[in-house]
C-alpha cells in the first residue's frame, strides 16, 4: 500500500479527522507532532503512535509527512522539517505548494474542503480532496492515497485551490455569520432561531435545483427601497448589522442591474 506509514505534523481539527480517515484506510499513524506535547500525545494515543514536540526529530519510518497546522506556521515548520526525499504535503487552501521545498525534494498538497470541528461526525468519504504535486510519480501516489480516503478527489493547482478556498469562505464562513446575525436579531425580539430552519433548509435545497442567480429573492433583488429603508431604520441601534445590510443590498442591486 502506498504511504503505509504516516507522520502527522499537527494535532488540531484537520489532523484529528485526517488521522481517523487514514487509519480507516488501513495505514499506520507512526508519529504525531505538536508544539504542545499534550496535544500530540492525545491524538497519538488514539492510534498507538509516538508523540513529539520536536519538529527536528521526524520519525524516519514514515513514508509521508502531512503538515496540518495553521497557514501562517507552515513555512516555518517546513523549514525546520528535513526529510530529504520523503513525501511532504500540507493541507492548506491558500498556501502555495512550493513553501514545502525547504522540507523535501518531494512535496505536494492534500486540501480537504470541509469545516472540521472536534467531536464532529464527518463522513470523510464525502469530503472533496484537492491534490497537487510537483512530480508526476508523487502526484500519482498522492492521488492513490486521496482516493482511499474520499470518493471526490480533484487535481487543482495552487491558484485554483486558493479560489476554491475563497469560495468556501463565502459559502461557509460568511454564510455562518449571516446566521449569527439573524440569530441575534431574533434574540432581540425574543424569537427562537428554529423559526428560520425551514427557510434555511429550503435555501440550501434550492442549490441542488437551480443556479443561485435564479434563486435570489428579497427586497434588494426586487429593488424594494421602501422595505430596505424600513429595515435599515429598524437596525439603527445595531451598526454592524446595518452596515452589512446596506452594503449587501447595494451590491445585490448593482449585480442584478448589470445582467
Amino acid at each position: 500500500m502506498i504511504y503505509q506509514n504516516v507522520a502527522l505534523i499537527g494535532a488540531g481539527r484537520v489532523a484529528h479527522h485526517l488521522a481517523k480517515a487514514i487509519n480507516n484506510s488501513g495505514r499506520k499513524i507512526v508519529q504525531v507532532y505538536s508544539r504542545r506535547i499534550a496535544h500530540a500525545e492525545e491524538l497519538a494515543s488514539a492510534y498507538k503512535a509516538a508523540a513529539t514536540d520536536e519538529i527536528t526529530n521526524p520519525d524516519a519510518s514514515a513514508d509521508i509527512y502531512i503538515i496540518a497546522i495553521s497557514d501562517d506556521a507552515i513555512a516555518e515548520v517546513a523549514g525546520q522539517l528535513a526529510v530529504a526525499n520523503k513525501m511532504v504535503v500540507h493541507t492548506s487552501g491558500s498556501t502555495p505548494m512550493d513553501v514545502l521545498q525547504a522540507a523535501s525534494s518531494n512535496y505536494g498538497v492534500l486540501y480537504p474542503l470541509q469545516s472540521f470541528a472536534f467531536n464532529q461526525e464527518i463522513d470523510f468519504s464525502q469530503v472533496p480532496l484537492c491534490i497537487e504535486a510537483a512530480d508526476p510519480d508523487a502526484k500519482e501516489n498522492l492521488m492513490q492515497l486521496a482516493r482511499s480516503l474520499s470518493r471526490d478527489v480533484r487535481q487543482v493547482d495552487s491558484d485554483t485551490r486558493m479560489q476554491i478556498h475563497i469560495a468556501a469562505v463565502f459559502a461557509n464562513n460568511f454564510t455562518n455569520f449571516m446566521y449569527l446575525m439573524a440569530q441575534e436579531i431574533l434574540a432581540d425580539g425574543k424569537v427562537d432561531f428554529d423559526i428560520l430552519m425551514p427557510l434555511i433548509e429550503e435555501t440550501t435545497r434550492k442549490l441542488q435545483l437551480q443556479h443561485p442567480h435564479n434563486a435570489q429573492t428579497g427586497p434588494a433583488r426586487r429593488a424594494d427601497n421602501g422595505i430596505i429603508r424600513k429595515h435599515l431604520d429598524q437596525l439603527r441601534d445595531h451598526p454592524e448589522k446595518q452596515e452589512i445590510y446596506k452594503l449587501l443590498s447595494r451590491i445585490i442591486q448593482q449585480h442584478f442591474q448589470k445582467k
Copy 2:
C-alpha cells in the same frame, strides 16, 4: 369551518402556495384578484374560482380576504378594497397591520416565513406562520385558520414580525448571495459548484447542533490577516466580492474581539 370561503387578492408566488394549502384544508377559493387578469385567471382556474382585475369588486361571499401582493402595493389596494367588517389580512413581513384599517374594521396578518417559487414543492405544514390581529375574536379565528394550514403558528406583533423578516433577509437572501458569489469565484477557476455542497450541507447541519457563534470558523474568525490579505489580492479584479470580503472580515473580527 372558520373562513370557509376565501378570496385571494394577488396571484403571485405567495398566493399560489397559500391557495394550495387553503384548498387542501377543505376551504373554498371563491375569487382571485390580480391587476393582470391572465394571472388571476390562471390561479383561479386551478380551484374553479372566479377571476377579477377589479379590486373594487370583491366577492361578497368570501369570509376572508387575503392580500398577498408586493409590500409597496398593499396600502393602495387596501384603500380600494372595501369589505365593511369582513376579515382582511395581508401576508407581508414588514408592513404594519393597521394599513388594513382602510379596507375593513376587522383585520390581521398571516405572514408565512418561507421563500416561495413557482413550481416548487413545499410542505406547507412546515412553514412557520406569524399571525397578528387587532380584535381578540379575530385573532382566535385567524389562529384556527393558520393551525389548519401549518403546525408552526406563532402570534407576533408588527415590530417583531419585521425583526423576523430582517433575520430572514440575512439567513436567506444574503446567504443565497454568498452562494452566488462563491459560484462565480469557482466558475472563474473552472471549478463546479458541487465541490461546495458537502461544506454547505455541513454548515446548515451544524445549526441544529450548536449556536452559530460557536460554529464560526475561517480566516477572519482566527484573525489570520496574512490569508485575508492574500484573498483580497486574489479578488482585486472583482470589486463587488472584494468589498464584501473586506467588510465581513472586518466585522467578524470586531464581533469576536468584543466578546
